[in-house]
């Protein structure tokens, strides 16, 4: 009987991937990485890794019983699978390969998942993107917001019908105060930035984290959110420019809840909605910091 170290290492890696994905789902940290809509996919990946692990452990010891595992018929050392079966001798190149594969396992197990912060808003284009969102929507002149309907139930991703979507819009037009809940955040955001004139003077209530740019006035900041389509790598930014006296004293990345009145202002020559804040308070980062767009059924 022969012990194959590399096969043992591979089995360990497969199991570790399975357990890492399981842990992320179990602790609900997975929502900090991907849109809950795709949870099922990564759960099946975890199960697949586990199955592959059970297959892999049979290769750790070579005994006569298991000769049929050497399926590639390595006659004359000219096997046709053109991939490494983990039987060839161990060298530094292989060490590197395993080190690379183990790397995400180490960081995944040991480092905490971080919620994206203002520095990423900046890298994603910051105000340049935010202040142009309304312009772009006007150009397209259609219901861009359709797809960015958010909702806040992590466990129950749903697709809303167009009727419900229209209902959301009606609520927006009729309610005395616009309440920016996670469900409706970007429908409302879309509506407001498409036609700021229509909403001028309305009261609005929202929460988000603080983002600032050098060009802002002392009393300005952006109350922003990230919207995640698939995974945090494709996070999009959403945010309202806001104005109030104490703005200068609030640090970036602070989460605040605010109430104010919508108005119109210009930033670098672009017209955009601005919120004159009347009431605000610092809050703890919400359990679910991201917004997740869901699809509107299009008939």
């Amino acid at each position: 009987m022969k012990f194959h170290v590399q096969h043992a290492v591979r089995a360990f890696i497969l199991l570790a991937f399975s357990v890492m994905l399981f842990k992320l789902h179990f602790t609900d940290e997975i929502t900090k990485f991907i849109n809950p809509k795709y949870q099922g996919l990564s759960q099946s990946a975890s199960v697949l890794f586990l199955i592959l692990f059970f297959i892999q452990i049979t290769r750790i010891w070579s005994a006569k019983r298991h000769t049929h595992h050497y399926h590639c018929h390595h006659e004359d050392h000219n096997h046709d699978c053109s991939h490494d079966h983990g039987d060839s001798p161990f060298n530094s190149k292989k060490f590197m390969a395993y080190a690379i594969i183990i790397f995400p396992l180490v960081t995944g197990f040991l480092l905490p998942a971080k919620v994206l912060d203002a520095s990423i808003v900046d890298k994603k284009g910051g105000m340049a993107i935010l202040s142009n969102q309304n312009k772009e929507k006007k150009e397209i002149n259609s219901v861009q917001e359709d797809l960015t309907i958010e909702h806040n139930r992590i466990t129950d991703p749903k697709i809303i019908s167009e009727k419900e979507f229209e209902q959301f819009k009606r609520t927006l037009e009729q309610s005395s105060t616009i309440k920016m809940n996670d469900d409706v955040y970007s429908i409302f955001y879309g509506e407001i930035s498409t036609d700021p004139e229509k909403f001028k003077g309305r009261e609005i209530e929202l929460k988000g984290f603080v983002y600032k740019e050098d060009e802002f006035n002392q009393d300005q900041l952006v109350i922003s959110r990230f919207s995640i389509t698939h995974c945090v790598a494709d996070a999009g930014i959403i945010g309202f420019l806001s104005e109030f006296k104490e703005a200068a004293s609030i640090e970036e990345n602070t989460w605040i809840k605010a109430k104010g009145t919508l108005d119109i202002s210009t930033f670098n020559g672009t017209e955009l909605p601005i919120i004159k804040i009347t009431k605000w308070k610092k809050i703890k980062q919400p359990k679910q910091p991201y917004l997740y767009p869901i699809d509107v059924k299009v008939y």
Binding site: V19, S42, H71, D117, G125, G126, K135, N141, V298
Partner: protein, 332 residues
């Protein structure tokens, strides 16, 4: 005693590995970093892992399909299925790619198997280019991201298909042979004995998939890491300011598509957020180049194909997308 040990050696080894992993798990719950890492490094790590977590299911599907091809498809099948006529073969491969709902992470192991089994390199490339680009999910997300507008989604699919055919044709002129890495000897005339029972072949499929995963995994991880690095440290703003004329804006959007390495199902939303800065042709170049070739994909291809081939095909794809978009810009 030693006989019992011998009989249950696999179970025992399995238990040992399981115990080790559970130990690691419980350790990770209690673990606190002894020193503070900078927030940007944690951002980097989060984005890196999220790309990986998003890609893993698709990579696993890819390696499983590759395993099935390796075990169940013989070279004779391929010879029968692929038309001898080069042009027909290119068209066929692009159409099959369009019908096949692949994702760019999972497609590299599949094409490697196909080429190994004797599919001509140009046909494999046609398949690789249309697979992730043209599929129902991508069409739907593009349609929605651009304000339920058929124009962009239609142009993305249509132009993408044409570009894929052009690239496949150019490849057929420039590259001969399998172009697989020299270090991995390719098959000459060996095929698996058909008579093996199904259960054995099924088992072999899974074994192949595991080995394929370890081959591909390291490149996927490097690619995901580089893409995350770019996202964390490269400001999009400087790029936005740099883009004025058509040429530079197309070049910038192509560069972004390449380095960001977004999933083809999600990139439409990012593309849409740039649509106020750049002309439609530049946005389209972002939407078309991304699924065909990106940083993560290039690295995965390097694990399979010769370096020269990968660089060559990268250049052909970029040139074709660029020229097509310049022409389209004149027409739009």
């Amino acid at each position: 005693m030693s006989r019992i040990l011998r009989q249950h050696i696999i179970d025992i080894t399995g238990m040992v590995i399981l115990t080790l992993t559970l130990l690691l798990l419980s350790f990770s719950f209690r673990f606190q970093l002894p020193f503070a890492l900078s927030p940007s490094l944690l951002n980097l790590n989060t984005i890196f892992l999220s790309i990986l977590i998003e890609a893993l299911p698709f990579v696993l599907i890819g390696v499983l399909i590759a395993g099935v091809i390796q075990v169940f498809v013989t070279e004779e099948h391929i010879r029968r299925w692929i038309p001898n006529n080069k042009y027909l073969a290119i068209i066929m491969s692009c159409v099959i790619g369009a019908l096949f709902p692949a994702c760019e992470c999972g497609i590299v192991p599949i094409i490697r198997r196909l080429v190994g089994k004797g599919v001509p390199i140009y046909a494999a490339i046609g398949f690789m280019l249309t697979g992730p680009l043209i599929n129902p999910i991508v069409i739907a997300s593009t349609y929605m991201a651009f304000g339920n507008d058929v124009k962009i989604a239609g142009l993305r699919m249509g132009l993408g298909f044409i570009i894929a055919m052009i690239v496949a044709f150019v490849v057929s002129l420039i590259f001969k042979g399998k172009q697989l890495k020299a270090s991995v000897p390719s098959a000459q005339s060996h095929s698996h004995p058909i008579k093996e029972p199904f259960s054995t072949r099924f088992w072999n499929t899974l074994i192949h998939s595991i080995d394929e995963f370890f081959d591909m995994g390291k490149y996927l991880i490097i690619g995901a890491f580089l893409a995350a690095f770019v996202q964390t440290y490269l400001p999009a703003k400087t790029l936005l300011e740099a883009g004025s004329g058509t040429v530079s804006s197309i070049a910038i959007m192509m560069g972004m598509a390449y380095v960001l390495s977004l999933c083809s199902e999600a990139d439409a939303f990012i593309g849409a957020s740039f649509s106020s800065f750049f002309p439609t042709s530049a946005i389209l170049s972002f939407l078309i180049l991304g699924p065909m070739m990106d940083l993560k994909n290039t690295l995965m291809m390097l694990s399979v194909f010769r370096g020269r081939f990968v660089i060559g095909i990268l250049a052909v794809i970029i040139a074709t997308v660029f020229i097509t978009m310049m022409l389209v810009d004149g027409l739009l």
